[in-house]
């Protein structure tokens, strides 16, 4: 049953399985275990990033395509929900319409980009998508009457999900059962479902073709697979999942602006998470997102401790200052590209196969 649910792609390592179980349980019980608002926000962000990064992994890890336009689709999803909810007022209909329109826009756009530029080499595609994404970012901040410009859009979600809506008077095991609570579980269920669907995709025959293209596109073409078609399909699928992740983000934040969903920093975050977590394994997105978002929110506190230890030393105190956490993550990123190209998950899985064959 479990094996079917995971599309027969089991963690294949005892430690990895344990880590995944802890993560899933932790995320499922966040409202009860860590009832603070910050912890709930961190949990929701992790859920959104898991979907977003897994969708990027479909492209980078499984098909071997580097795209820098992934945040564009993330933004389309978030703006879809935001614009529909501002124009039509809060309601489930507006939400559904926003998600639907965003999916259609993302589908068309990713199809055009794919057909136009996936014939060329990896480097070319990376550059073209970078250019397209930055054009889209400026489009979003220019059309201010539509997207709210730099200020973004504040909007309301359906009443059932609003934080003011109380379902029970008394807190239940330390968690107050309100709209926020319901939103969190909406995100949780959606994220779990989407990750399972993506696992299904990458473990299907279609996913195997993608991996074949990643390993040797020339040979895949020679066997008879239309490489361009498969690459474009992979691009479209990954864009659609990223769009859904964007919708989830907008529902949670009830706000969207260029910096929240479109900025280049988010693209860098995605890249860091995929590589550190492990390319070509959907589980890598799960482990990586948890590590990254927690590091982003709590590593700064740790660095603060370090900084107070070397206070007064001119350069060192700057190097370990809490604002420089990205420096250390960048170093970790480069090192893992060289030494652990398969990331945390790949490393753990390799441990197991080593144990098998002494």
């Amino acid at each position: 049953m479990l094996s079917r649910l995971l599309s027969h792609d089991l963690p294949r390592n005892r430690w990895l399985a344990a880590i995944l179980i802890v993560i899933v349980l932790g995320l499922a019980l966040t409202p009860f275990l860590f009832p603070s608002t910050k912890a709930l926000n961190v949990g929701a962000k992790i859920l959104v990033f898991i979907v977003l990064v897994a969708s990027f992994d479909l492209l980078l890890g499984y098909t071997g395509i580097v795209s820098f336009a992934h945040t564009m689709f993330f933004g389309i999803g978030a703006y879809g929900v935001a614009i529909a909810s501002t124009r039509l007022g809060p309601g489930w209909g507006a939400l559904a319409l926003g998600v639907g329109v965003a999916l259609v826009v993302a589908l068309v756009l990713s199809l055009v980009i794919g057909l136009f530029s996936l014939r060329v080499k990896a480097i070319f595609f990376a550059m073209i998508t970078l250019a397209v994404a930055s054009a889209f970012l400026s489009l979003a901040s220019q059309l201010s009457e539509f997207t709210g410009g730099e200020d973004g859009l504040n909007f309301k979600v359906p009443e059932a999900l609003q934080p003011g809506t109380q379902y029970f008077e008394e807190p239940f095991f330390g968690a107050s059962i309100d709209g926020r609570f319901l939103s969190y579980y909406l995100l949780f269920v959606a994220a779990v479902a989407l990750v399972l669907v993506m696992l299904r995709i990458v473990n299907s025959p279609f996913g195997r073709v993608l991996q074949a293209i990643r390993e040797n596109d020339f040979r895949a073409e020679a066997i008879g697979y239309r490489v361009v078609v498969y690459r474009t399909l992979s691009n479209v699928l990954s864009a659609l999942f990223a769009t859904l992740a964007g919708c989830l983000l907008a529902i949670w934040l009830r706000y969207n602006g260029p910096d929240t969903s479109l900025s280049f920093e988010i693209m860098l975050d995605i890249l860091l998470i995929v590589v550190i977590g492990g390319m070509g394994t959907v589980y890598g997105a799960v482990v990586g997102s948890v590590l990254f978002v927690i590091a982003q929110n709590y590593l700064q506190d740790l660095l603060k401790l370090g900084a107070s230890a070397v206070e007064g030393v001119p350069v060192a105190s700057q190097l370990v200052s809490p604002d420089r956490w990205l420096l250390w993550l960048g170093l970790l990123f480069v090192l893992s590209v060289y030494h652990f190209p398969t990331g945390v998950v790949g490393r753990l899985r390799a441990l197991r196969s080593k144990g098998r064959r002494p």
């Binding site: 970078l130 489009l139 590589v275 700057q318 960048g330 480069v334 590209v337």
Partner: protein, 344 residues
Amino acid sequence: MNTTTTTTAAPPAQADAIPKAAFDWIPLALVPLLALLALPAIGSPSSWLTLTVAGLAMGMIVFIIASGLTLVFGLMDVLNFGHGVFIAFGAFVATSIFGAMTGWSDADSLLKNLAVVFLAMLAAMSVTAAIGWGFERVMVRPVYGQHLKQILVTMGGMIIGEELIKVVWGPQQVPLPLPTTLRGSFIFGDAVVEKYRLVAVVIGAGVLLAMLFTLNRTKLGLLIRAGVQDREMVESLGYRIRRLFVGVFVAGSALAGLGGVLWGLYQQSVIPQIGAQVNTLIFIVIIIGGLGSTFGCFVGALLVGLLANYVGFLAPKAAMFSNIGLMVAILLWRPQGLYPVANR
């Protein structure tokens, strides 16, 4: 860059022995064509002249910052996604020099002002050359020939570089004001031409000529061009192409540093994220030019600079898309760029 060889007339005897391909004038003709098309659209000749000079100056600066990248890609097949960070380093070194020499840059003497600018350029180029050398050695060397890893590693390099800039110069925006005598503008007929833009045009032209001379008229350039065409052949002739590689990478980084100084002075302020911002622009330019072609990069930069200024005047909201529109149009016309490099 192989196309540029044909611009120089060879001695007649040799010309008979080796027939040369005709120089492709059409892409180059796009530049005056664009300027002419813009004239009726803008209307007044004086603002047209102002915009044209501004566009050419911007194009020259963009050419300088992008030329190093296209050179490195042409010879080494390495696309450095961290190229932008060298630009940022160049610009920040310039802010330090300017900060240390405020006496000279605020003085009312052209000579002292220019001395500060040249010192800043020299310092920026030396620093970025040194960083480029280290970058090639530590980050790029293990991933030659692996495009996917190159993109990832150089991107990581950019993150680290950006953070290091914040460590040294702080995360905030740093002003980089022009020296006194380079501020303001000339009145040229009815047109207003900013002084600094003329300086930028002169420096850009100087760099272009120096590059074309080195590539076409010196033995070093011959080896570089040969290395682009056929690496194994140059190696088998006994030249150490590795050293050539490192040299080109260092030169490309130094050019980025120079471009960073000019770009910083053009914007009059520098932020640590400048690398990521400029990356998009220079990628568009080298794609338009045909990856790896120096002359194509030059034409592409001029087109981008001119178009950005014209569109910025006519329809400010559309200015951000002019580049991408230009790129799409050119790729539809010539999928390999304006001056494609033959062996790719």
